[in-house]
Structures are given as C-alpha cells and as structure tokens.
C-alpha cells in the first residue's frame, strides 16, 4: 500500500515539475522573440545527426543479433523438404537484407545530409518518369524470380508423396497428440468421431467398435436408458434447469444413435482389416531415417497446428477435415545431437495454433531412428495392434 502511494506521489510531483520546466522554457523563448513553431537550427542539426546515429544502432543491432544467435538460429534442416526450403529461405533473406540495408541507408543518409541549411533552397523536382519506371521494373523482375522459385518449391512440397511412403496419422486434441501407424498393411483404418469411447480414443470404425458405441449410447453410464429413467422416475425430483439439460442431452444422444445405426447399416466388414492392425502410440512419434512419410491429421475439438520446426513442416489440424503433409527425415536424433553438439536435444512436434489454456504445453517428442533400430522398435510395437488392445477386456 505504501509503495503504491509513494509511486503515485512521485508521478504527480514529476508531472508538476515537468509542467513548471516547460513553462519556464516557453517564457524564455518568448523573451527571445522567437515564434515557437520555428525549429531552431541547432535542433534541426541535432536531430539530423541522431538520424544517422539511429541508422547505426539499427544496422549494428542487426549485425550483433546475427553474430550472437546465427543467421537463422534454428539449426540445420532434418528432412529433404526442409533442406530445399532452407536454401530458398537463405536466398530470400539475402535479397531482403540487401534491400533493408540499401533503402534504410538512403533514407537516413538523405535525412542527415539534406537537413535545412539557411540560404540553400530545396530542389524543385516533382517527378521523373524514367526513374519511376526503374523502380517499378527492377522490383518486378526480382519478384518474378522469387515467385517462380517459390511456386516451384511449393508444388514439390505439397504434391503427392512417394508411393512407398509410410502412412501415419496424428490426432490432436486439447492438449496432446496421439500417433497411429498403418500397421503391417501400411493402411490406416477408417475413423469417425462418433465412435470415440474410452477404449477407442481415435474412433476407429469396425464392426466391434460400432456395436460397442451403440451399446454405450443406449445402455451406458450416461446412456439413453439412464437419462430416460431419470426423467420419467417418480422418485426423483428434478429442478427445471436439470430437466432441461437432460432433455437436451437426450435429444443429442438420440440423434447420434440414429447416425450410428445408419453407419452400421452400410458398414462392410471388409474395411475392418485395415483398422485391426493399426498401431496407436501415445508417448512419442518414432520415425525411420530416409523413409518418406505421408502424415494425415485430425482434430477432436478445436483447430490445432502440427508444427515440426526441425523438419520445416507444418499444417493445421481441423475438426471435420483431414489435412496432410509429407516429409522424409534425413538425420537420426543421435546424428542431430552430435551436429548440434547438444546431447539432450530431441525433435519435437508442437501445437502452433491457439487452442486454449494448455496450448503452450501441447507437444509430442519425435524420435528418428536409423533403419535397423526402427525396424526392431516397430516389430515390437506390432504386438499392440488396435484389435488386440480393443478386444482385451
């Protein structure tokens, strides 16, 4: 409390003191018979010098930061695609850095050089078509190069992945990631959010999961039967608001049930095989070096973004929409550690789209293994197929 009072007091006294100073300054300048609006020569020259000084601060700051933290500070790219974009990024950065230095230099240097000098008039120079043409055409030409190179790369990056690419799905929800591998057949089984239960967290569609979901929605803990029972019971007195909430939830559930029944009616057992052998991994995403990947993404609740900074890959995950991206890792975690000289380093998958209070903690470790290590890991994982875990009581 006293601190606050002190602060306020200091501010008030400071303001009064400043007001008095200004007053004195204004009175004296009036005495000197100078219109306040005329900027004295001294002030003009002083500010023109500061302009040059600021330019040095600006350029110096840039050079200092580059020297201290590196040109991009994000380490080498760990994927084929990343290496391509890094090359392009460097090219573009060189171009814009040159423009940054050149134009800022001209601006501040002219500001310094052409400060008003008594008796020297300004040069009346309203336009010059040749010059204007020059600085329309030159930027246009440079941009043409940037656009062509950029689009070429973009098409490569977003094009279809290699036919032998490994399929992995990344599933996002507040606030975490789950990975699903296509399993032995490298095919991801179908999924639908309506089938999500505690045992089927990704909502895979199979005959069994359909049955289980329908049963849960009818007879489960908060199922239709239970709610109807509550609503119709003579022994329980429900407040209006609770009754209303129950009704709403009942309507909701009945709708879902209808949709599930429709799904069931058109479901064929044939597609189940691709889901049975899927492997779901929650602790980390393990990848195989030099292997092309096709990632697909789903979101459970809100938009998230799958951001792999070291592979230079990113795509949003959107409820109701499956998104995709591809990349081919080129360095194992161990190799990257030694390149970076940082034994604790790990690759990461972060969330990069605002998604709620835990946004900043929504991540999954990524580990790239060499071919042998990976194959051993995967072989072991294949014991825990979706089917095995779902049917396990």
């Amino acid at each position: 409390m006293e601190n606050k009072l002190m602060m306020i007091l200091i501010v008030v006294i400071g303001a009064i003191a400043l007001a008095q100073l200004v007053r004195v300054y204004e009175l004296t300048s009036k005495l000197r018979q100078r219109g306040e609006h005329e900027i004295p020569n001294r002030d003009n020259v002083f500010n023109s010098k500061l302009m040059l000084l600021f330019m040095i601060f600006q350029f110096g700051g840039f050079i200092y930061l580059v020297a201290k933290y590196g040109w991009t500070g994000r380490g080498p790219a760990a994927s084929i695609e990343g290496a391509t974009t890094d090359w392009l990024l460097n090219l573009n950065l060189i171009i814009i850095t040159a423009v940054f230095f050149l134009t800022n230099f001209l601006l501040f240097y002219f500001a310094y050089k052409y400060v008003k000098k008594p008796g020297v008039p300004a040069y009346f120079y309203p336009h010059n078509n040749k010059l204007e043409m020059l600085w329309t055409v030159v930027p246009a030409a440079v941009l043409a190069v940037i656009i062509i190179l950029g689009l070429k790369t973009w098409n490569e990056l977003t094009g279809p992945s290699a036919p032998n690419a490994v399929n992995v799905e990344l599933y996002s929800k507040q606030f975490g990631w789950v990975a699903r591998y296509g399993g032995a057949d490298n095919k991801l089984g179908k999924a639908d959010y309506k089938l999500i239960t505690s045992k089927n967290k990704l909502g895979l569609v199979t005959e069994e999961t359909l049955l289980a979901s329908i049963e849960q929605i009818e007879k489960g803990e908060e199922g239709i039967h239970k709610i109807e029972g509550q609503l119709n019971s003579n022994n329980i007195v429900l407040s209006d608001s609770v009754r209303k909430a129950y009704r709403e939830s009942l309507g909701n559930k009945e709708r879902l049930l209808r949709l599930l029944r429709q799904m069931q009616a058109t479901h064929t057992k044939k597609s189940d095989a691709s889901a049975y052998d899927d492997v779901i991994v929650e602790d980390k995403l393990v990848l195989r070096k030099n292997t092309p990947y096709e990632f697909t993404f789903r979101a459970e609740d809100v938009i998230h973004s799958a951001y792999f900074p070291h592979f230079r890959a990113q795509i949003n995950t959107v409820p109701g929409l499956v998104t995709r991206l591809k990349f081919t890792p080129t360095m194992t975690t161990k190799e990257y550690r030694s390149v970076k000289n940082l034994p604790t380093f790990n690759y990461i998958l972060m969330c990069n789209k605002i998604c709620g209070s835990g946004h900043y903690q929504m991540k999954m470790l990524v580990e790239v293994l060499d071919e042998k290590e990976y194959d051993a890991w995967f072989k072991n994982k294949q014991k825990e197929t979706f089917k095995a875990s779902f049917l396990k009581k």
Binding site: A19, V22, R23, Y25, H37, I39, N44, N47, M51, F57, F62, Y69, G73, R74, T85, L89, I96, F100, N104, L107, F110, Y114, V115, K116, P121, A122, Y123, Y125, P126, H127, N128, E132, W135, T136, P139, L143, I146, G150, L151, W154, N155, I196, N252, E300, D301, S305, Y307, Q314, I315, N316, P319, G320, L342, N352, K353, I354, C355, G356, Y360, K363
Partner: protein, 618 residues
Amino acid sequence: MASVTHDHHAHDEHEHHHEEGFISKYIFSQDHKMIGKQFLITAVFMGLVAMLLSILFRIQLAWPGEESEFLHFFLGDKWAPKGVLDSEMYLGLVTIHGTIMVFFLLTGGLSGTFSNILIPLQLGARDMASGFLNMLSYWFFFLSSLIMFLSLFVMNGAIFGIDIPGEWGTSGNGPAMAGWTVYPPLSALPQAVSGSGFGMTLWLISMAIFIAGSLIGSLNYIVTVLNLRTAGMTMTRMPLTIWAFFVTAILGVLSFPVLLSAALLLIMDRLAGTSFYLSDIMVKGQMLTNHGGSPLLFQHLFWFLGHPEVYIVLLPALGLSSEIIATNARKPIFGYKAMIGSILAIGFLSFIVWGHHMFITGMNPFLGSVFVFTTLLIAIPSAVKVFNYITTLWRGSIVFTPAMLFAIALVSTFITGGVTGIILADSALDIAIHDTYFVVAHFHIVMGMSAVFGMFAGVYHWFPKMYGRMMNARMGYAHFWITLVGAYGVFFPMHFVGIAGAPRRYYDYSVYGTFDTESYGMIVDLNVVITFFAIVAALGQAIFLFNFFYSIYRGPVAPTNPWKSNTLEWTTPVEHLHGNWPGPLPVVHRWPYDYSKPGAAEDFIPQNVPLAEGEEEH
C-alpha cells in the same frame, strides 16, 4: 462558381453557431472537427489500455512464473493469484490487446480522427456531407469501445457482480481468448476456453457495433470527397492524405460487411445451434452433433476483411506522412501521380490476397499458389512508394519537426516490416515460420509501428489545427527517440526468436527445456530484452500524454500556418468555427505541392493562390 452556391449555407451555419449549448458543442456535436477530436481522445484511451495489457503479458513472458506486484495490482487474485498471471488470462490479454490496437486505435482512431478533421478542411468544404451520420459514427465507435473495455471485467458470466440473464451470459470467465482473429471452433465453444463464454459474446457485439459505425463513417467520407470539393479542387489536385482516406473508406465499405456476416454466423453457431463453422466435434468429452460446417469458411470471411484491414490501417498513415514529408522537406512529393497510382493498386490488390494467411490451414495448395502470386505483386506499388519518399528527401531542405521525425521513421518501419512480408508471402517458406514470432515481428513493424508513427506524426502536425495551440517540440523529440528506439528494441529481436521456431500465443516457453535447451536459452534471454524495451517505450508515452494535455490548455497559441504549408486547412482561422471559413470558400488553383518552386518569392505557394503570369502548373 461552386463557392457562391455554398455561400448562404455558410451564413445559415453561422447563425446556429451562437446558439450552441455545451451538449451540442462538446458531446453530441455534428461538427467534423469536434468529432475528429472525440475519436482521437477515445482512441488514445483505448491505445493506453492495450499498451498496458501488452506490458502485463510481456512481464509474464520475460519472467515466467515469477511473482509480480504489478500483475497482482492490475489483475487481482482471480487472474494473477500471488502475482503470477493465469494461463488463460494470458490469452485473454493478448486477444484484447490485438483487437484494440488493430480496430480501435488504428482503424477507429487513426482514420476516424484524421479523415474527420482533414477531409472537409483540405477539400474546402464546410463540413462532412452528413453531420448527423458523422456524429452517429462516433457514438457507435464510443459504444463499441466501451463494451470491448468492459469485456475485460467479465467474471462468472457477470460483470462487476451483475448477472447477465439467459443465453447471453450462461458462462464464461474473462474476455475473449481466441486471439484477435477469433477462429472457431475455439471461439464458438464455451467448453473449449473460458473466454468463449460471455466474454466472446461481448466481443462479437462490440465488433458488430464497431463495424456499423465504421461503415457509416466511411460512406460519409466517400460522399464528401466525391461531392463537396471546392471549386478548382479536381481529383488530381487533392492532397495525398485525401486520396489515402478516400481509398481507405472504399476498402472499409467493401470489406467490413463481410466481417459482419462472419460475426453474425458465428453468433448463430453460438446461440442458435447452427453449424456454419462446426463439424464433427467432441469437446471436453461431450460429443456435439454439428455436422457439415467448415472452420475454414470463417477464416476466408475473416481474412477477406483482415487483409484489406491492414491497408485500412496503413494507408491513412502513409497519406499523412506524404503530406508531412513534402511540407517539411520543402519539396513536392516526388511522383505525385505514381503515388496515387500505387494507392489505387494497393487498394485493389489488397482484396485478392487474403489467402496468404491460410497457406497451411488445409486450403487447396493450388489456391495457395494463386495467393502467392497476387501477394507478391503488392510489393511493387509498395516499393514505388518507398523510393518516392526517399527521393522526396533527396536535395530537400529538411526541417525536423517532431511530425517529420515520425514520418521518416514510418518510412523506415514500412521498409523493415515490408521486406519480411516477402518471406511470409512465399508459401513454401511460410510453412516453417507461420504463427511464429517472426510473424509477430513482421506485422508489428509494418502495420503496428508504421501506423502508430503515422498517427503520432499526424497529431504533432495537425495539433495546431485541432486545438489552436502548439505542442512542445523538445518534448516531442524526447518522445520520438524513446519510442523509436524502444519499438525497434521490442520488435526487431522477435524476428530471431521466431525464425528459431518459437510459436506465438505461448504463455511460456518452458517446453523448450524438454527438447532444446540451447534455443530455450536464447528465447529466455531475448524475451527479457524485449520486455525491457517495451517498458521503456511505454514509459516514453507519458511524455507524449503530458505534452498533449498540457498543450491543449497551456501551449503557445498557434499561428495560422505554422508549418508554411500549402493545403487549405491552413487558410482557416485558428479559432474553430462552424463552417470552417468565415467568408466564401477558397478556390483552388494548383496542386498542393508547390514547395520551393523556382521563381516564387516564398518556398511555398498555397493551393488557393492563382497561378502567376506565365507560371506553369508543375
């Protein structure tokens, strides 16, 4: 001839003048000059609020988890228990900060203030086309500002303990928390984040009112520019300020309604159970039945406004600085026609580039490549403008008023922030830096700083016109240098944090500790530096506030034309009067940039001075 017809209008106005009471003069004023000042004061207040919010969350970023008296003082036990900022409120602060800065300070404030003050004065009109609508546009702005401000105080579906009835107030703690872009589903689902309850409802109401006000204002500006120019004021004799306000108003009229519809559909999804933006969602264990909507639809609608919005913010600042640079370099603006051409080109292109905000949203990549092309085209007219500014300084006779300093700094930030746009517009490169601090650095420098500098330049330059007194120049210098150095210190290092991969809208960067301690060290270091500069820059604004309010009452009385400027506003008397010119309206004979014209006696020739014998119009 037009001056004659306008004449008796002037006399009418004159008679009213004496009967004006306090309320009609200062509150429900229909005089454009007073309305402009109302916009300015409201915007300055909102800008201070937004700046304070940024300091609050910057403290968290620099010293995550440390107890701070300062945070506790402003946020209390609820949002900063023991002086540590709550992680949801962090998002709330960022959201309201961004919203206020973009819409309330730099749209309402910048274009509201200066379009109002300068359009009639520089065109030689008695007032806006409709004084009443003009007044209405301010009061809509005021109301929306008030609602947005109050939304900061939402707690448990109530404000200051007053419960909000029914669906509107069902739930919610704190203001909107989905970022200033309010993407659904996050913004549509109160279960997803607590700010998406009543706080979000207030956000949407406030923005709907804001948009209505902005549309009324913009229509008025357009009509005034088209119809109320004085005799001789052809379109190609208009000052570049007016060109900028004119194109800005057109952009607003064409794009804001789209945001309004986006907001209305979002309101429907929130209150009426529709599925415009929602599909296949399970949130907090609850399965929703919404089906068939698309979150991307919202993003398309949002950015259809959102990108032109950047230029709605920027063009007025560029217009003001064109005028200020020409006046204080004592030279014609170089390439006047090219400047008009670039304003028009930028205005047009700004409508077909919105997809550059959506390269990695799952939008079709081919569509993305179209947006790469159109976006990079904008760099051309922007480059033309920059080179024209620089050439205007060349061989000038520069007078460093505080306004001139800010205007030159604007050109610098426009360059520095603009060039990084080339990286972000290149979709292949955007993949890895989208939504990182690199983006935060980019838009703060190119849009935030440029527009704020433009606004400061405008205030220093036209203060004598607004308040009839001069601001203190030396305090202006101190304010300028502290602000410029502070702003660079804040936003320049953000490029490095961002390109190293640090995502934006993160409450803290402790995850880095789990995978890359080296980058973590860099982020922590630079975050402290950035916050240090932010505090310095914020304190520097006290000088401005003091100078501003002190000068309103005690500044030396201004001469009629303090900067020896050519435009018509400096031909009006210092004392404001309704109708602007006591006699007939001035007649225009030349463009506004006859500075240092060879053969003239003085280094400036106001627009209402007839051509001398044998003189050619530039």
